[in-house]
Symmetry: C2
């Protein structure tokens, strides 16, 4: 037993077998709660708010309701808080309440190819799990699905060994003054601080990127902040799409062939994928050396691989773009203007591209100058599907792309491998049917090359507009300086002239000053005025040359 020289056995295969067992996903995340964003008390408070608000926004938009969300934090003791989020969404039917709030990996968005904030079916249950882990208390959920409906209230916990809801109490009640909506109350250990990476910052940035939503926020000091909506129209509803053939891996293709109800390969291709009409289906069949009337049930692994290779060889149109709901350059610029005190603003919204079959698009906004510090790294505001990303900036593909862009040519300082320095805020947004995050806590984008390339193109496009402004600003400043300098020499020049010509010195000074006004100053004024307008046109030429990068 205790022999340790390599010949004896400490444990046998049979000993080891006895200890093997199932690990529930709830137990896994309870132990690994930093993967879900519950690393420490401060971040835990933020994550709890974030998961609830994200769900509320998704639900309102799915139901076509302009969101109005109440967020309230109540301090119960030095380390304990009550988090309350209440929305005006469509509500949740009684039967679904337990699983949605107390079962990890349960939801509607995982299988749906359309842009949404939630995508994993983990977040809100993780909040309930963290609350019960740190306080032992159940979460309280109330929901009402319509003005004439009775409301439901349940108190629940998660049975972590089973990853299943454990309802402690349930009751029906008359929710006065509420037409429809959902409210969650969770007690948890947390820590409240303002500033960087706080609940306050999260809500401020969420308001920037969701101008159609109103947020009423009461912080633990009982101060209330209201972010009123800036737009009275919901963004267009992202449409659900079917998988694109290019994005389906061989193993998944085999599973689709096994599960389909289609009778022929032709029908399978045109029914279960997007962008495959009869012509494309025919091309795929030819490229796969398979007959269009082959039955999906008869496929062997080798035939499926033929089909997979045939798909890669066929020319298939990119997926439709209405599965995404971008913010748009105009609204993005408007939001930046509202929140950041700067002198120049620009924004771009890139076309849709695809990574692993998932459509996505990138948006970039830049705010330059004003009150922003000149000698510090630029501020990055990162967003994914309209959700601010406040942690793990260093490991995010957004940050990598900013570092990999040559900012010196756009008028900012930058040392090798570093974020540029200057009075600038850069806002970055990715909209996708599936955002690849580096962990379940959804704090940073994974480094997919297709995504990094698009972010860089967006940064370059916005960067060129910035460059045009910065260059002109430098020119205007030079002119102003020249004018000022000439101005200070006027008395001496006038003195010399008056001696040469015999003219009156005072009159000469007056004339000279008028000259400057006419030429230099007017030039300067003209330049300042046209500065912003010209930027658009100026960048067009530059774009043509850079686009081949």
């Amino acid at each position: 037993m205790a022999e340790e020289n390599g010949t004896g056995q400490r444990k046998t295969a049979e000993d080891l077998a006895k200890k093997q067992r199932d690990i529930s996903i709830a137990e896994f995340f309870e132990k690994n709660r930093h993967l879900l964003g519950f690393d420490n008390p401060r971040k835990a408070l933020l994550t709890a708010v974030k998961e609830a608000v994200d769900n509320s926004l998704d639900a309102c938009e799915e139901a076509g309701i302009l969101p109005e969300i109440n967020i309230e934090l109540i301090q119960l003791s030095e380390t304990r808080f009550r988090v309350i989020i209440e929305d005006n969404g469509p509500g949740i039917v009684k039967e679904q309440l337990p699983k949605i709030f107390a079962k990890l990996l349960y939801g509607s968005k995982f299988f749906k190819l359309a842009q949404s904030r939630g995508q994993q079916g983990i977040g809100i249950s993780a909040t309930v799990l963290y609350g019960q882990l740190t306080t032992g208390k159940p979460a309280i959920i109330s929901s009402k699905t319509g003005p004439t409906k009775i409301a439901n209230r349940i108190k629940l916990k998660i049975n972590t060994q089973k990853n299943a809801p454990d309802v402690e109490e349930e009751e029906q009640f008359n929710w006065e003054g509420k037409d429809h909506g959902t409210r969650i109350e969770v007690d948890l250990d947390g820590s409240y601080m303002k500033g960087h990476q706080s609940v306050d910052e999260y809500l401020k940035e969420t308001a920037i990127i969701n101008p159609h939503a109103t947020f009423i926020y009461t912080n633990p000091e009982a101060q209330q902040v209201i972010y009123s909506r800036a737009a009275n129209k919901l963004p267009p509803e992202p449409k659900e799409i079917q998988p694109h053939p290019y994005g389906v891996e061989l193993g998944r293709l085999i599973k689709m062939l096994e599960n389909t109800e289609c009778r022929t390969l032709q029908q399978f291709l045109t029914t279960e994928f997007c962008r495959v009409g009869p012509g494309t289906a025919k091309e795929i069949c030819e490229n796969s050396s398979l007959l269009p009337n082959t039955k999906p049930k008869d496929f062997t692994r080798e035939m499926a691989e033929q089909l997979y290779n045939g798909i890669q060889k066929s020319k298939i149109m990119s997926p439709p773009t209405d599965c995404l709901s971008p913010i748009g350059a105009e609204l993005l610029e408007k939001s930046l203007k509202k929140e950041i005190n700067a002198e120049f603003y620009t924004a771009v919204s890139r076309p849709v591209f695809v990574y692993r079959g998932n459509p996505f698009l990138v948006e970039v906004g830049i705010a330059y100058g004003g009150a922003q510090p000149k000698d510090e790294p630029v501020t990055l505001l990162r967003f994914a599907n309209r959700v601010p990303l406040l942690y793990q900036q260093g490991s995010c593909a957004f940050t990598k792309s900013v570092i990999a862009t040559a900012w010196k040519s756009y008028g900012l300082q930058q040392s090798n491998g570093a974020i540029p320095v200057g009075p600038v805020t850069i806002l970055l947004h990715i909209a996708s049917v599936w955002v690849p995050f580096t962990s379940e806590s959804k704090e940073a984008l994974a480094h997919y090359p297709e995504i990094i390339k698009e972010i860089k193109l967006g940064l370059q496009e916005a960067g060129r507009k910035l460059q045009s402004y910065v260059n002109k600003k430098v020119r205007v400043q030079n002119q102003l300086e020249r004018a000022n300098m000439f101005d200070s020499y006027i008395p001496e020049v006038a003195d010399a002239l008056s001696r040469l010509t015999g003219d009156n010195k005072e009159q000469l000074i007056k004339k000279l000053k008028e000259m400057i006004k006419k030429e230099e100053i007017q030039n300067v004024i003209h330049n300042l005025e046209s500065l912003k307008g010209n930027v658009e046109e100026d960048t067009k030429l530059a774009e043509r040359s850079e686009e081949e990068d």
Copy 2:
């Protein structure tokens, strides 16, 4: 339906309910395979090898067998490889084979508080999942549990919707020449390249940190590399411990109280925790204002919270340290010498500390000078429970700690917020019963403050030894330079002396050269020899003053 002005509803609560469903953990990771280290073909090949080798090493050590592991990569097509790992471990009993290799979140290490490489019960099943996703093929597992036993071979896949094994074939066979062990064969899409972050680098680093194991590696070019073991003794077996009271959160304490078979609180405390004897149990009861004979079944949430607070107020000894198996400073320095061509080596192994109730310790090795480049950032070799971490250096707590250490005082260059520059390799190792990683792919350490503090103390301790060497080296170099300079002036000095004294110039030159030899050169030689030996003593004084940091 299509009203989008905020008054009409796109979808009702009932519509939304219809789409809610369970998400299997296998489906989740199939879609999020970058979380498991299968981001791209090159990394996928590495991860597949890593998960299998880690399991083999764990199994051998648990069984008290000196590991001998065969790794073979066969290229099947441009993008496809067969990965074969065969060990001499204890083997796996037939009934356990399917679940161990084809069910995510299944294993023996998750619930065990003892150091091991695997901890999640995910890795090897993830490899099988990735293989089937990219090739549609099953994995083939062979295993034999003893010389007189018949071997088993199974072909299996994962049913992703159920997260359950799907055995396609199974057979018994006579495994000639094999006493015991396990072999896995998986076909997968991958890409093979040497160098940084390659399978080759992983195996080389694994051999450094596991000197008791032999690796026989055949790469896709059919070249064989053998890393023979440097130590013929297994590391001491890490002992399993019970949870420490300080590390148990309120929610878990409640669950333990519900599930215990103990009849009294006193018995519960002394039986289910480590470091709680009758005296400590009494202290906890007093601090909790609870009677020692209270029945665990009678506990309310409020009583559990009293107990939780009482535990925090009580003085409880740190957990035992034999649950960990550190490498040790001596072996660490030896391993560095074997693999890195440098002129100075040092290593430290820190005492055991605790984060969230989990014992851990940090080890640091430094190799300085030699053939290492002078003007580049130092090389970091990161390890967790004897496993090399090759990816995500930027987001790792090891890297953060290196950056946060003031290397200028130890003789290296360093700019603000950057990795130091110099001819140095820094090896970092954490051993813990539960290593907190930033994702399931186990590539970077999460930023727990207790862990970062310990890493920094280890770096400082090793840094002081480095400083002592670097300072002496500079002194010796100055002496050598002075001696050389004097040497070049000898003819002129001799010339002047001979004119003054009338002595023979050639003899004067000879005498002067002897003088240098005697004084300067001997000094230099003496210093060079004593350089290494003194370092140990010199740092002791420095330590005393820094330890209060």
